[in-house]
């Protein structure tokens, strides 16, 4: 990378356009979320008490800062409903992520062992579902899982079950939905890590008398570790905040925080609480990112 300084006018322009965009539509909105989370709900339009207005200037700012309230945060933390929603989001996301890894690992391994000229096509095949509409993929599972759905129809006609299985509108359906939707996110980093492995390592191990089982656990898995961590992160983080999957596949009792946020916002119109829920969710998600960061540092140091 060249370190030519200072930047020319043209470069400055090329940098400031996306920087300005990100500031306006990404960073500023988050400052606003924090601000509204700290304000009190009010029955007005918009439904919260203003914390500070630009017109007040800096002298007004100090005055208003003293009126900031942590009430909504206290409410969200002490409220059993939110607490269990956070917990059950984490539990469902963790379970789904683990299952996704179990399904994706053998698949990525088989892909990486395929003949070279197959591999690009296999990778394309693995990513393509990600680009078909998310809603359509969830809709497909509604078709399959409903009581009168295709899976129950098939099992009934084969005589394997006497009454339709109740999968739809349960946590099981939510798990299937998450696994199905995020599988490509897990396959890709795993495949990248596995494909790079030197096959001669495995040959050497087997020449030295290692069983395939031993060399799998002592060579293949440890070398795939960066891919495993990246995959876990890529699935877990969006899964925790998922709204569409629990809403369409889950039952009315399936608690997930993305859904609580949505309801708080659209149905209860309690914007400060919705904002506080969002901030706490962000804090929750930064934790696995930090763990990942540390893991990366360790891998680099190795």
């Amino acid at each position: 990378m060249s370190a030519r300084a200072p930047l020319s006018t043209l470069r400055r322009l090329a940098l400031s356009a996306p920087a300005l965009w990100l500031f306006l539509f990404f960073l500023a909105p988050f400052a606003l979320v924090l601000k509204i989370a700290l304000s009190k709900p009010a029955i007005s339009q918009p439904p919260y008490e203003p914390v500070f207005a630009w017109a007040d200037g800096f002298s007004g700012l100090w005055e208003k800062l003293s009126t900031l309230s942590l009430d909504t945060f206290a409410l969200v933390i002490s409220d059993d409903l939110y607490f269990s929603a956070y917990l059950s989001s984490l539990r469902l996301a963790a379970l789904a992520t683990a299952l996704t890894l179990l399904i994706a690992f053998p698949l990525a391994l088989a892909m990486s062992r395929a003949p070279k000229h197959w591999r690009t096509a296999l990778v394309m095949l693995a990513i393509a579902p990600f680009w078909t509409s998310f809603l359509i993929r969830i809709y497909a599972w509604i078709m399959l899982l409903k009581d009168e759905g295709l899976i129950n129809k098939l099992l009934l006609s084969l005589g394997l079950i006497d009454a339709p299985l109740q999968i739809f509108a349960t946590e099981g359906a939510v798990l299937i939905g998450i696994i199905y939707s995020y599988l490509p996110f897990m396959i890709l980093p795993l495949y990248n890590a596995l494909e790079r492995q030197d096959p001669s390592l495995l040959e050497a191990a087997s020449d030295l008398g290692a069983t395939p089982f031993t060399s799998f656990w002592t060579i293949t898995v440890p070398l795939a570790r960066p891919g495993i961590f990246a995959g876990l992160l890529l699935v877990f983080i969006p899964a925790v905040g998922e709204f569409v999957i629990p809403d369409l596949l889950g039952g009315s009792d399936t608690l997930m925080i993305g859904r609580s946020l949505w309801n708080e916002f659209f149905d209860n119109r309690d914007w400060p609480t919705a904002s506080a829920v969002a901030i706490l969710l962000l804090v929750l998600l930064i934790l696995p990112l930090l763990i990942y960061e540390r893991q990366q540092m360790k891998e680099v140091a190795r």
Binding site: A110, A140, M143, L285
Partner: protein
């Protein structure tokens, strides 16, 4: 254990890709079902496609989605390419880490949070929500995908061509136009198509940033799915899958056609 596929591997591949593709294939298959009940096969028919084109609301939503996707993909490509250049070529500049963080954060951040934040911004600024607010939301998401693709291209880029042109006395503008741009054009095109499909597909951010009269196709599909299954959803899904399939195919063909020629 040598490289090569054992029957065991083949079975895993078949099962894995079956899991990924059978549900989608069933949606397509049942769009040609003549029965009103989605999960009961009543014979082949294309009636749901016919009724689709009589559904005014759905057509309006589709046209809205297409326009939003085109506008946001164009903006994403422009801004994302600039951002990729900034990160790959400009060396150190103030707040580079913050810039990169803000650029790539939307890749993993739950959409409900991005949507909520954007909505609060638009309300706070007193902007009426509609076409352009959805475009703004989708561009924020799309530009990071474009940046990823273009940055990867720039990273694997042979700078000696540019240096040779410079030694031969070409102006920076000339170098950019006749060397740099043609080399990264396939990545930009691929980025455009990715941003386009992401926008076309997005439901959550659009729900937060749309106003009355600016309903997108996924929003319409979502409300229909909540009401119950109808074969019409299968028909519109099939059309969308076809559209996305075609643009993916185009993206890979563009990338493959031009890549060897310039190396």
């Amino acid at each position: 254990m040598k490289r090569g596929l054992t029957p065991f591997h083949l079975a895993i591949l078949a099962l894995g890709f079956g899991f990924l593709y059978v549900p989608i294939a069933l949606v397509v298959l049942y769009s040609f079902n003549s029965s009103r009940l989605v999960t009961v096969w009543g014979g082949f028919s294309t009636q749901w496609y016919v009724s689709l084109f009589a559904n005014e609301q759905l057509l309006q939503a589709a046209s809205m989605s297409l326009r939003v996707a085109l506008a946001s993909a164009a903006l994403s490509t422009l801004l994302g390419t600039c951002a990729a250049f900034a990160l790959q070529r400009f060396g150190r500049f103030p707040a580079r880490t913050l810039f990169a963080g803000a650029l790539y954060a939307p890749l993993v951040m739950p959409e409900v949070i991005i949507g909520l934040a954007l909505l609060l911004l638009f309300v706070g600024l007193g902007i009426d929500r509609g076409f352009w607010t959805i475009v703004a939301g989708h561009t924020t998401l799309g530009l990071c995908f474009v940046a990823v693709v273009v940055q990867a291209r720039l990273a694997g880029f042979d700078r000696s061509l540019e240096e040779a042109a410079q030694d031969l006395g070409a102006s920076p503008a000339r170098i950019f136009r006749s060397i740099t741009l043609p080399l990264i054009a396939p990545a930009m095109a691929a980025g455009f198509l990715l941003a386009f499909t992401i926008s076309l597909d997005d439901f959550v951010i659009a729900s937060f940033t749309s106003g009355p009269g600016s309903t997108t196709l996924p929003m319409r599909i979502y409300s229909q799915v909540r009401l119950g299954l109808t074969p019409e959803i299968n028909a519109i899904s099939t059309l969308l899958i076809g559209l996305v399939g075609l643009s993916l195919l185009a993206a890979s063909v563009i990338n493959r056609l031009k890549a060897p020629a310039v190396r």
